[in-house]
């Protein structure tokens, strides 16, 4: 089995769960003997081969990834906006070698979530990836999220091989009801043209059915996995309890509900600190919001964290809260669980449907969130049980299982094709 896989980000250059998911999934698939050519947007213009960056950084153990070849298209790499604001210029009426009709609509709309000229990048990626596809031999195409969907469909049309699109997040998760029509159109186009869709949860599957009019039988759910790290928490007798928010600071992740809940918790207990780890277009507003509520001295912003620092912040924390407005899966929650941190999850998430040993709240119900935060901090038995059972449960989410399911889906698709 040889797979032509199209991705947008890969560690260490990640901004969210998509890169983590691609890393875990391809590593497990490689272990299981699936050959993959993984196409990524290259570093800016003159930068050397992406593969070299990855290996130089020590991220890719050549043994673990022996079945994967990385190919780079030379387009810029910055899928999400940063706090400092971004250029929103859009080149209109760009021509494309792939000839996909979808570009006709991709010329207007709100770009605030993406760094730079995202449509131009997607278009360059599409044409370059399509060229790479013409030089490769493979059985199936697998594309991760909308940025790579046009390339997948174009490659499928050129090669005659079936395409599977993997939906890690939809425009409705990222933007609520005010979607970018151009992105929505690309997502919808990719979903309808693809032979099969992989959704990261039933939650996402339902969005695809209801918002994109895709028949249910075309969609398969494959949960993400988590890499067990075996780290132990340092249970120091620190005076203050730490409650952690870890994620991009954007509308989708619901940081304002976290801060509002923090305010309510602090009305009942004082020995608590709230840590917000991450970055995003709402960072400055959230810092101001915490100050406005008079809890600025209790809310700490670490900005974006990577690698070791992520594990360190988990180990410091007594509780992880994921207040997302809409979360297709929520790998970070699994990471918290496997790092022995109790979690409170938004019910509006994929992970909430998949785990039992976590507390669940509606993201808008600030009082309920505060009630549960206080309960976890106050009651040691509750903490113990959530930690122990949560860690064991998270350990069941293994990338090997996800990879096996994906391989099974390939077989089904190829049998039908």
């Amino acid at each position: 089995m040889k797979v032509f896989m199209l991705g947008w980000e890969f560690p260490p250059f990640i901004s969210g769960g998509l890169g983590t998911a691609c890393y875990g999934l391809t590593k497990a698939m490689s272990r299981q003997g699936t050959k993959i050519t993984f196409v990524l947007p290259g570093g800016n213009d003159q930068t050397s081969d992406f593969m070299k960056i990855l290996t130089a950084d020590g991220f890719l153990n050549s043994e673990e990834f022996k079945n994967i070849t990385f190919r780079s298209t030379h387009t810029a790499l910055n899928p999400y906006a940063s706090a400092s604001g971004v250029s929103t210029s859009i080149e209109k009426n760009v021509e494309t070698k792939s000839g996909s009709p979808i570009w006709q609509t991709a010329s207007s709309g709100n770009q605030k979530h993406y760094g730079g000229d995202v449509f131009e990048k997607v278009q360059k990626y599409t044409s370059n990836a399509t060229q790479i596809a013409a030089t490769e031999k493979f059985n199936i195409i697998h594309a991760h999220d909308w940025m790579t969907f046009p390339a997948a469909i174009a490659a499928s049309e050129i090669s005659g091989k079936p395409a599977v699109v993997h939906v890690h997040s939809t425009e409705f998760d990222r933007c609520g009801d005010y979607v970018n029509q151009a992105i929505y159109d690309i997502e919808r186009y990719g979903m309808h043209k693809a032979h099969k869709i992989i959704a990261v949860s039933n939650y996402t599957k339902n969005i695809i059915i209801n918002r994109y009019s895709v028949p249910a039988e075309k969609i398969k759910v494959v949960y993400n996995g988590v890499e067990s790290c075996g780290a132990t928490r340092n249970i120091s007798n620190k005076r203050d309890k730490i409650v952690l928010y870890l994620g991009r600071i954007t509308f989708q992740k619901g940081p304002e509900y976290f801060i509002a809940a923090a305010k309510r918790v602090l009305e009942k207990m004082s020995n608590v600190k709230f840590v917000i780890a991450g970055d995003g277009d709402m960072t400055h507003r959230m810092i101001e919001y915490a100050a406005y509520l008079g809890i600025g001295h209790k809310v700490f912003f670490t900005r974006f964290l990577r690698g070791q620092n992520v594990e360190r912040v988990y180990r410091m924390s007594d509780l992880y809260v994921m207040p997302s407005v809409s979360e297709p899966f929520g790998i970070a929650a699994l990471e918290a669980m496997i790092n022995n941190v109790p979690v409170i999850l938004s019910r509006q998430s994929g992970i909430a449907e998949a785990v039992s040993n976590a507390l669940k709240v509606n993201f808008w119900d600030v009082d309920e969130m505060a009630d549960k935060i206080a309960a976890v901090l106050k009651h040691q038995p509750l903490r113990t049980m959530l930690t122990e059972n949560g860690c064991a449960e998270a350990g069941g989410f293994r990338w090997d299982n996800s990879a096996a399911k994906v391989n099974e889906i390939y077989r089904q698709v190829l049998a039908c094709a």
Binding site: K268, K372, H379, P381, M385, N389
Partner: protein, 426 residues
């Protein structure tokens, strides 16, 4: 010579409302949900089953006899939400063919935590049964058939009871049969009746299970199994939740028809009879002493108490709620004491059980919570409020006491305040 001894457990708890840490009032109960469930169970189970049993008692001229154990917390709810059910129970009591058993008023686990509270609740329950049904319970059945030697001794020490009921599962009894009368270790007068778990569970759990080899179960077949006991036992003790009829087993499974035809089939055999627990122990001799040092119950496969105190949250909640017993009683505030006792109802701790978490089986039944964690958090919030009410009163009391001493006057009697409190509530 086989007597069929039916005992039905009738209980519903006062479920707590969603109570966050931010609540300040002392209304702890979900009146809407409680009334809704009470009414639903009344219509699907209590009323049709009571009518059927009344009909059978009349048809067989008193040869069909049963026993009930109705908890005090359910009696309260029936008075409020389903007085028609209470009326039919009274009708049953009037036939003289129905025995009412004694238990803890609040369906609590007090036997494991506070003997004083345990005995107090038995007294409260006895008073309630006497008030409603003009009978004084002579047979004791503990919450969920929780039993050990010590509990039996405690029950004998009351002098009120002739026998106590317990679970009769194989791994507890070994080679012994549940179809005889036993005596608890170190007891002189008290006798022990054991549940025939196999035949009881055939009705209570397996009746509608289409994967069961004996499905469909009809009255003649069941009567044959009872007849098979003749010669190797005196009594077949069929102990089960009353909700078996119409609720656990829906009417469409044929459970009511089964019950309707059962007395006829059983009585076809001249040696068979129906007896209440009191009649069983009067009719047959004790065959042996039984030593049960470890606590057993009728719950789950384990038949132990792990469904209520199997995990750290449950143990913590139970420890905390029993820890404040003295403080609660020191307030002498009938409202606070009653709220505290309603928190002792075993169901609250059952909801916190994580044993069969992923299976979503019988523990889910009428469970108002999404998860055991939620039920623990809610319970602890209510308990926290109750504690602060106690402290408020005791703190105010001691301050008043001080001022009173200074002024050289006597403190207003507690009784007066209680009366005021009660009239306020009414």
């Amino acid at each position: 010579m086989a007597a069929v001894c039916f005992y039905f457990q009738v209980h519903q708890p006062f479920r707590l409302r969603n109570y966050t840490i931010f609540e300040t009032d002392s209304n702890y109960y979900d009146d809407f949900k409680n009334s809704q469930i009470c009414r639903k169970v009344a219509d699907k189970c209590y009323l049709p089953a009571n009518r059927l049993i009344l009909e059978l008692i009349r048809r067989y001229n008193g040869k069909f006899r049963v026993a009930y154990s109705i908890t005090g917390v359910l009696l309260e709810q029936l008075e409020k939400y389903a007085p028609d059910v209470l009326y039919t129970f009274k009708e049953l009591a009037d036939t003289g063919c129905v025995e009412f058993l004694g238990e803890t008023y609040h369906h609590s686990l007090s036997s494991l935590y506070s003997h004083k509270e345990f005995l107090d609740q038995i007294d409260l329950h006895t008073q309630a049964i006497e008030k409603h049904f003009a009978q004084k319970p002579k047979i004791f059945r503990n919450t969920e058939l929780i039993y050990n030697n010590q509990i039996a001794e405690l029950i004998e020490s009351t002098g009120q009871f002739d026998a106590i009921l317990a679970e009769g599962a194989d791994h507890i009894l070994g080679y012994k049969s549940p179809n005889f009368i036993y005596q608890p270790l170190r007891c002189k007068k008290l006798k022990l009746l054991l549940k025939n778990y196999k035949l009881s569970d055939d009705i209570a759990f397996r009746f509608s299970n289409q994967g069961w080899a004996e499905w469909p179960l009809r009255a003649p077949k069941f009567a044959q199994w009872v007849n098979a006991v003749n010669g190797c036992g005196y009594t077949v003790n069929l102990f089960m939740d009353y909700e078996t009829f119409g609720e656990h087993q829906w009417e469409s499974t044929g459970i009511f028809n089964f019950l309707r035809h059962l007395p006829g089939e059983i009585l076809n055999h001249p040696d068979n009879s129906f007896k209440t627990p009191s009649e069983v122990i009067q009719s047959y001799p004790v065959c042996e002493t039984l030593d049960i040092p470890y606590t057993i119950s009728w719950a789950d496969i384990e038949r132990d108490v792990s469904a209520w105190l199997g995990n750290p949250m449950q143990r913590n909640a139970l420890t905390e709620v029993y820890k404040i017993e003295q403080m609660v009683k020191d307030t002498a505030d009938s409202g606070i004491i009653e709220d505290w006792r309603k928190l002792l109802t075993s169901d609250h701790f059952y909801y916190m059980c994580t044993k069969w978490f992923s299976d979503g089986d019988v523990h889910k039944y009428f469970n108002p919570y999404d998860s055991p964690y939620d039920s623990y958090i809610n319970f602890m919030n209510v308990l926290d409020n109750l504690c602060s009410r106690c402290k408020n009163i005791l703190y105010t009391d001691s301050r008043q006491l001080l001022t009173a001493k200074k002024a050289g006057t006597k403190r207003a009697s507690r009784k007066n305040r209680d009366r005021d409190y009660v009239s306020e509530r009414n």
